[in-house]
């Protein structure tokens, strides 16, 4: 069943892939594919390229094919995504000529049309990872755009041989939203590389000076500024935290449509200079920030997994999370972090104050150490790659038994010119 070199070749379809990142999807695919390469799987990534970075690239055992996604005319983001998929489909033809793909692994609704079409054309099993659902992101399905995304998610789940979710919360969200059989879904938690934090060597005080005064304690928010991430809930908690801990300094990284509203809230609730919006920061700066922060807050309303909490635990920084979704599964209250009520600024303020209080210092150190060892044991990308590999093997075994097979000539290696592609 495997490719020519005896390895399982997996085509990952993801619109995000570093250096282009919007949310956690790009990081997930990047880390997973690298871990898969280490585990003896041959990952191929089909993704978007921007600002002239197109074409094929091979690094750390991962082949990446980037289409030219610059200047795609579209009426809105959703039709842009679908047109981008049209270009992905053409590039996929090249990938299938150059690789004997055994499995197609699609990530989220943004790759549905490509994944479904490729599945039927090449008759290769499709596996879908559902990272989040539209109904969860916005607390329901309302406009016609949301209906389209919801339907594309449903179509992807329906067409997939098996579905992967990063948490039990997501698994049961998919079950209840699309009436998907429970036994069709596997849970593979995301991972984090503790080494990326352990290996950081820098002058912490000098670095801190870029964001806060020496005596200030950094309360860090990492994430997109969108409704479901709950940045406004943190802004609501600011006065209650400052009342008890005037030395607190709020550093907010990321960007999004909610930013303007949250900046306005910050102006209302905090004295000048107490809340710093940095915008997007590079990975290195982000890791350093996570390392020097006194507390990291994840006040999400909806969180399928919550990789930021995991990163905080890997950085040995105390984390305060809303008790929702995947966060509930990752964090154990007062053992590996602090859980607070969802959509409740007072509760969030209590959690942050608890961590910043000198009285709880010993307890917080204990929590941080527990969290770090939990991450090391359970949440590594190598573990995620191993679990995903087992799913591939299972699917390929089942696939061997079915009559649904492609005509071999479709994988022909004739290097035939196709107008406009090469």
């Amino acid at each position: 069943m495997e490719g020519d070199d005896g390895k399982i070749t997996v085509l990952h379809i993801s619109w995000e892939f570093p250096p282009f990142k919007v949310g956690g999807l790009g990081t997930h695919v990047y880390q997973l594919t690298r871990a898969q390469a280490r585990a003896g799987i041959k990952p191929v990534v089909l993704t978007c390229g921007f600002e002239g970075k197109y074409g094929k690239e091979e690094k750390d055992g991962v082949a990446v094919y980037r289409i030219n996604a610059d200047n795609i005319p579209a009426e809105d983001f959703f039709s842009w995504v679908l047109q981008m998929n049209m270009l992905l489909q053409i590039e996929a033809a090249r990938i299938f000529r150059e690789n004997r793909v055994n499995i197609i692994h699609a990530h989220d609704w943004l790759s549905t049309t490509t994944a479904v079409a490729l599945k039927h054309i090449y008759r290769v099993p499709l596996i879908a990872t559902i990272h989040a659902l539209e109904s969860g992101r916005y607390g329901g399905i309302r406009g016609d755009r949301q209906v389209l995304i919801h339907d594309l998610e449903g179509k992807l789940v329906f067409e997939a041989w098996r579905v992967i979710c990063c948490s039990n919360f997501m698994k049961y969200s998919v079950v209840s939203t699309f009436a998907t059989p429970e036994d069709k879904i596997d849970v593979v938690p995301n991972g984090v590389e503790t080494a990326e934090f352990d290996s950081l060597e820098f002058d912490e005080q000098e670095f801190k000076n870029r964001f806060a005064l020496p005596h200030e304690k950094i309360v860090l928010f990492v994430g997109r500024h969108v409704w479901e991430k709950g940045l406004d809930i943190l802004m609501g908690a600011v006065p209650m935290i400052l009342e008890k801990h005037p030395e607190a300094k709020f550093v907010v990284t990321g960007d999004g449509y909610h930013r303007q509203h949250c900046e306005w809230l910050a102006k209302q609730n905090a004295p000048e200079g107490k809340v710093l919006f940095t915008g997007y920061v590079d990975d290195d700066t982000l890791r350093k920030l996570m390392k020097i922060a006194d507390v990291i807050v994840v006040p999400s309303r909806y969180e399928p997994f919550g990789i930021v909490a995991l990163e905080a635990m890997a950085a040995r920084t105390p984390v305060v999370v809303a008790d929702t979704g995947g966060l509930s599964e990752i964090v154990e209250h007062e053992k590996t972090g602090i859980k607070v009520w969802v959509e409740n600024s007072e509760s969030l303020a209590w959690g942050v104050n608890y961590v910043l209080d000198e009285d709880h210092r010993k307890k917080v150190v204990e929590i941080v150490e527990n969290a770090y060892s939990t991450v090391k044991e359970r949440y590594s990308w190598d573990n995620a790659a191993k679990l995903t590999g087992k799913i591939y093997e299972r699917v390929l075994k089942e696939y061997e038994k079915v009559t649904w097979k492609p005509r071999p000539e479709i994988f022909g290696r004739i290097d035939m010119p196709i107008a406009g592609i090469e």
Partner: protein
Amino acid sequence: MVDQLLSQKIAEKIIKRLGIDERDIEYSKKPKTVVLITPDFFPRMSNEVSYTTKEIAQHLATRGVNTHVVSYDPWKAGQVEDFGGFTVHYVTNPVRAYSPLTWTLTLSMEVSRVIADIFHEEGNIDLIHAHEWLSFPAGIHLQAALRKPLLVNYYSIEHMRTPGLCNGYTEAVKQIEWMASYESKRIFVNQDWLKNLLHIHYSTPPEKVNVLNPEDREFDKKIIRNYTWVVRQWREMMEK
């Protein structure tokens, strides 16, 4: 020498009397299996697109070409109908789209599925003929994936449907139309002015475009001649 000339003249006379075009004999490698993609087909829609695709399918069927038509029809989706010599596969959009552009781009995955099934069951498809821009995304993808030549039919272009309008939607449709004109191996239009418009707006080489009208007396012959030429060129290219 005289005998040779005599037999050649007799052969020419027979060919003329039987109404056989010499080029038909030359192009003996006619396609065996053809797929037509259309957004409209009888009886759901009665318009130029459905009329032309039906005419082509009928002519191909009478010439013994295994012809499949893949058409949108939400009421008959999933059905396969025998139209007396050719087969019609009906598809519908699996998702609820909110604009013609998103509708087209999502319908294409269902069209691809049906045509891929035809390919895997029949063993081969010689040629794909897509009608109107609503069918082009699927056609472009299938040409690349199945490595079979694509022919396209234009009945109008976005520049004439929305003259002077320039927004995200119109530009996206124009891009799809341009891509189809670039990727396809042959283009059919029903009027000369449309051929000129393609040249003006999409820089399509005029020699790539054929003006074919179903009312034309030699419509069927011209279709089969073009198909045969494309298939022959494609095979030669593959053999190289």
